[in-house]
């Protein structure tokens, strides 16, 4: 049985993120960009298909994204 905390989550390593913006392009609606180009993860991320999220993780040029339980 899975609990809320077990659900895989998209995490941003802010020390790596340079605001390239590929994640926002791949997950429009779920991820927007702030005034400086850095990603803002919105509540719609919960409804995004896990495969789309994994794709965003894999294309991040800064390797700043992780998708998992921890």
């Amino acid at each position: 049985m899975s609990t809320v905390t077990d659900r895989p989550q998209l995490r941003i390593d802010w020390t790596r993120c340079d605001g390239h913006g590929l994640c926002a392009a791949l997950l429009p609606g779920a991820i927007t960009r702030d005034d400086w180009g850095y990603p803002v993860v919105g509540p719609a991320i919960a409804a995004a298909a896990p495969n789309d999220v994994r794709r965003a993780v894999s294309v991040c040029p800064a390797l700043a994204l992780r998708f998992g339980a921890r």
């Binding site: 390593d13 802010w14 020390t15 790596r16 993120c17 605001g19 702030d34 005034d35 850095y38």
Partner: protein, 430 residues
């Protein structure tokens, strides 16, 4: 209470001390030379060495929480240690918060209490060494002399790390101790799993260990005789700002703001900043109980126990703006939202000082910073700014209407410990 300060080196040679009720940690510290190990034993008695089970039951009984600001229960940290025999005990004496001087005070004036506490933890968990990290060279040299007087002197190592605001953050400190830049790492791996040199690390604030030394000697029943039901014992407060006597005050948890104000000789104040520059601005409510729960109930954050009275004679909005810019400068600039967001937020506050009406701008920039960094700095800075704006509604109004409030910025929120401990005369000119 007169501070002896070496302004040139920003080093603090002595900290004024006071107390409400009976002092525990600070007992004897103003009249005896407790840096001498014999004098320390005469004052506090022989140290006690509880085993792991006894230590944990004492800690659980009083709910001893870390005194660095986050308030994490020490017992939970000890239980989380992956392999305690390989562990190092680290005493965080860095005190990045300029308005805090309690750890400096302990390490300068009663260092053996801190060392006893750290040694007791090390003995209980089977760890070999104790490392004390400090930023002030005067504290470092004093500690080294004190340690040579101890029978277990070989156990301790004192390390000087660069003085900066974020160094107080536990993981940033471990990075610095490991010879890397002292900035928080991107991934949050608990120090109890992988800390110093990758080994499990038990790190806590200097006051936490001093409290533990008292608890181990006296037992949990005695320890809990003062304080509140949920927060037994005393806490060290650093009181500064618009006061006649700035310094470190030991008081039972739950002591009212009025009692601390009386002791420090606080002048008329328009607000009080509790919990430092990551803390919150609160109204001057004389009945405010100074405890983690009491301050939280008032919408603030107890943090490391700093209490700064913001007098009616200073432009509080200019103080807020100056510290907002200082906080922006303290960003290590590794995380974009903090590096760009905090300067933008500080500029928004500066515009409000100049008479702008748009508080919403600051609120929007604040929302873009919160929760978007590798450490607690962006969130703490936002808490400081937003609580200030909420508290200073009259100030904001007079700046909007008249372009100012007619008062100068008296620097009651000081950005160095030396300046915080040596306040300008109340109502006087700096």
């Amino acid at each position: 209470m007169t501070a002896v300060l070496d302004r040139a080196s920003r080093s603090v040679a002595s900290v004024p001390l006071g107390w409400v009720g009976s002092p525990r940690l600070l007992a004897g510290a103003t009249t005896e030379d407790l840096t001498d190990y014999r004098a320390h034993l005469d004052r506090h008695g022989e140290p006690k060495w509880p085993d792991r089970a006894k230590l944990l039951s004492d800690l659980d009984a009083v709910g001893l929480a870390g005194r660095g600001g986050a308030g994490f229960p020490l017992a939970a940290k000890i239980r989380a240690l992956r392999n305690s025999r390989r562990a190092t005990v680290v005493v965080n004496g860095c005190e990045g918060e300029p308005a805090s001087a309690k750890d400096t005070a302990l390490l300068l004036h009663t260092p053996h209490l801190v060392l006893d506490g750290a040694a007791a933890v090390a003995a209980a968990i089977g760890a070999r060494s104790v490392l004390v990290a400090v930023t002030d060279p005067a504290v470092q040299s004093g500690l080294q002399v004190a340690i040579t007087g101890r029978p277990d002197a070989g156990r301790y190592q004192v390390r000087l790390v660069p003085d900066r605001f974020v160094i107080g953050e536990a993981r940033a400190l471990v990075e610095a101790l490991d010879g890397r830049a002292g900035v928080p790492p991107g991934r949050r791996i608990p120090l109890t799993e992988a800390g110093l040199s990758g080994a499990p690390t038990l790190l806590s604030n200097a006051e936490t260990f001093a409290q533990l030394a008292v608890l181990a000697r006296r037992g949990s029943a005695w320890y809990s005789a003062v304080g509140t039901t949920t927060e037994p014992g005393t806490a060290l407060l650093t009181v500064s700002g618009s006061v006649a006597n700035a310094g470190v005050v030991e008081a039972a948890y739950g002591t009212s703001l009025a009692e601390v104000a009386r002791l420090a000789g606080a002048g008329p104040a328009q607000a009080v900043l509790v919990g430092g520059f990551h803390g919150g601005w609160l109204p001057v409510d004389s009945s405010l109980p100074l405890s983690r729960a009491g301050v939280a109930a008032a919408g603030g954050s107890f943090g490391a126990g700093t209490v700064v009275f913001v007098g009616t004679d200073t432009c509080a909005l200019a103080e807020l703006s100056r510290i907002a810019h200082w906080l922006a400068e303290q960003s290590t600039r590794r995380c974009g939202p903090c590096a760009f967001g905090l300067p933008a937020l500080a500029d928004d506050v500066r515009a409000l000082v100049a008479g702008s009406a748009d508080v919403g701008l600051a609120q929007r920039h604040a929302s873009l910073v919160s929760g978007r960094g590798a450490c607690a700095h962006p969130d703490g800075a936002v808490r400081f700014v937003l609580s200030g704006l909420r508290q200073l509604t009259e100030e904001l109004q007079s700046h909007r209407r008249h372009g100012g409030c007619g008062r100068p910025d008296r620097h009651q929120l000081a950005t160095s410990r030396a300046a915080a401990l040596n306040p300008a005369p109340i109502g006087g000119w700096r």
